[in-house]
Amino acid sequence: MFGLELRDLTKAYGDQLAADHVSLSIPHGAFVCFLGPSGCGKTTVLRMIAGLETPTSGAILLNGKDITGQPANSRQFGMVFQSLALFPHLSVGENIAFALRLRGEDPRRRKARVAELLELVRLPGLQGRAISQLSGGQRQRVAIARALAQEPPVFLLDEPFSALDAKLREEMQGELRALQRRLKITTILVTHDQREAMTMADTIVVMGEGRIQQHGPPVAIYRRPANRFVADFIGASNLLPVEILDGHTVRYGVTALRVGATCGVGGAQATLAIRPEDLILTRAARGEDNEMAGVISLVRDMGAYVEYRIDCQGQDILGVATPRDWIGANPGEIAHVRLPVESCQVLAR
């Protein structure tokens, strides 16, 4: 296979499994985001790919060749660390040229490559600048240029934007995506920021408890979460405890709800997942399927949208509406919420 392949990659620290049989194929030139909460094993997997951790079992293949036993300095995958790990005793140019100098490249070629990379990350002419004289965003760009200097087969980034403020983070995310598209380099980014993963990745790999919970295109992950963990972690979800009645019906409290498809047999306990933006709120009952009455417990006008909570049979259901669709109801009033059949997904509890 042309690209990177992880086969049953496992990493154990004593009794603790940091990565548990992780298998994944990443085609050449793809942008993949490993997404998950702290301690889910995403950084461990990235570090195994870089060669900074030795897998307990499993294999890593690059373009079909097993590289599991290769140390990091032989793999030479460009990596941007969370702390950036720039060398403070070297100038910007010397940082970027570090790998090229180790490789014994001609000084003139080195100089030309540094200038080219600084141009690429939009920092032309800063070769001689000390690292301490750079802003946070500039340091980020230097770290990216340094990792790309050796023209790595795989580009790895470990939460590189976590220390930046929101505005700069968004700017850098856009720049990195554009750069990756231009260079067509296989890129793996580790993040716990869903927004970052959703906006940047071709493929999101959701990790939880050391395992891959789901992987696929961002929209597919969002619209069709594979399990309760993914539904809960990616975006906001209403997770209602239900009982399966038949192949297309579940019961929530006293209300029977029609769904696209169920999992499990009749009588089994399951979870119904529905996104807040899929709910339809009305003041009066319309007598349609999947409609429930509830008492509005909270309304928050966020400007761009209105967030509301409705107490339906003992559980708050979260919904969002655009200001144009907002029904103007207040907390304490009765409203009706409809769960469109096509938006309801039944997951194992």
């Binding site: 870089a50 060669g51 900074l52 140390p71 990091a72 300095n73 032989s74 793999r75 030479q76 995958f77 460009g78 990596m79 660390f81 969370q82 702390s83 790990a85 720039l86 060398f87 403070p88 005793h89 070297l90 100038s91 570090f98 790998a99 180790l102 490789r103 000390a130 340094r146 990792a147 200097a149 050796q150 790895l156």
Partner: protein, 298 residues
């Protein structure tokens, strides 16, 4: 935590910040007075004494004469200063070359091993210098373990001793100072971000080239200070060269003592001491100048 975050609470005035000038002045009074009484005043007295008139019988009377300073411009004093500097530089070179990698490897060990090493190093400091020097004397003497072992394998003539000589002085000074230097490097090296070394590895650097091209240059300031620390300690060494060396291996500290206690010329001893202080200050200034220049070039 910044100093401004530290609050001192007193019943009378409530919460006061350390950053407030009068609080700072209050906190600095005791150490300030101590430094003035124990360092500045003796230094002033030493200068005054070096300019005093020497009387017979080890006495002196107040005055302002440069007689003793003229004696500094002799080949003997130049030789003593030269030897002291050689001993200090050699000691510093050996100590830092051994201590830096040792501290580096200790910081890369597991926490429990690190603690064990630190306890061992701190424990070794509890031994008295006198005890160590005389233990070295026994070890290196004709009947000592080391000399005996070397004689047994034919590397040393029977009945020969491994002291008094320059290597004996140097090795004992290195032994005395090594734990201090390792403990000095330990905090800085343990704070070195491991990702910096990992970044070098991902760029193709071996462990050795990471150490030489990343770790060592990043710690240049600490290494330089470590060298100065050993130079200052060794320059003033007294007991070790006295016990384990011959007169040619005596440092300036022994000559100061001999001038004051042996020859009864206290103003000359004071002039020697002033010369040593001036030399040390000049050395520190030069080092600082060099490190600044290198910093600016970088």
């Amino acid at each position: 935590m910044t100093t401004a975050d530290v609050a001192i609470t007193s019943q009378a005035s409530g919460t006061r910040r350390i950053g407030e000038p009068w609080v700072l002045a209050g906190l600095l009074t005791a150490p300030g007075l101590y430094i003035i009484i124990m360092a500045v005043v003796p230094a002033f007295l030493m200068v005054q004494l070096s300019l005093a008139h020497r009387e017979v019988g080890g006495l002196w009377s107040p005055g302002f004469e440069l007689t003793q300073y003229r004696q500094l411009a002799t080949p003997l004093f130049a030789r003593v200063m030269g030897f002291s500097l050689l001993l200090a530089v050699a000691g510093a070179a050996i100590c830092v070359s051994l201590a830096f990698p040792a501290a580096y490897f200790i910081t890369r060990m597991k926490r429990r091993a690190q603690v064990a090493w630190l306890v061992f190093l701190l424990g070794s400091l509890s031994l008295s210098e006198v005890l160590i020097v005389f233990a070295f004397q026994v070890l290196l003497s004709t009947s000592g373990t080391l000399a005996g072992a070397l004689s047994a394998v034919g590397l040393l003539a029977p009945g020969a001793s491994l002291y008094p000589n320059f290597p004996a002085v140097l090795s004992c000074l290195v032994y005395l100072l090594l734990p201090y230097v390792i403990l000095y490097f330990y905090p800085a090296l343990s704070q070195l971000d491991p990702e910096v070394e990992q970044a070098a590895a991902t760029m193709g650097a071996s462990r050795f080239s990471t150490f030489t091209s990343v770790v060592l240059p990043m710690m240049r300031g600490q290494i330089l200070t470590g060298v100065l620390l050993v130079v200052i300690f060794t320059f003033g060494a007294y007991l070790t060269p006295l016990v384990l060396g011959r007169p040619p291996q005596w440092t300036v500290a022994i000559h100061i003592s001999n001038a004051a206690m042996g020859a009864g010329n206290v103003p000359l001893a004071a002039a020697y001491a002033v010369a040593v202080v001036v030399f040390m200050v000049a050395l520190l200034a030069l080092t600082r100048l060099l490190s600044r220049r290198r910093g600016a070039e970088a």
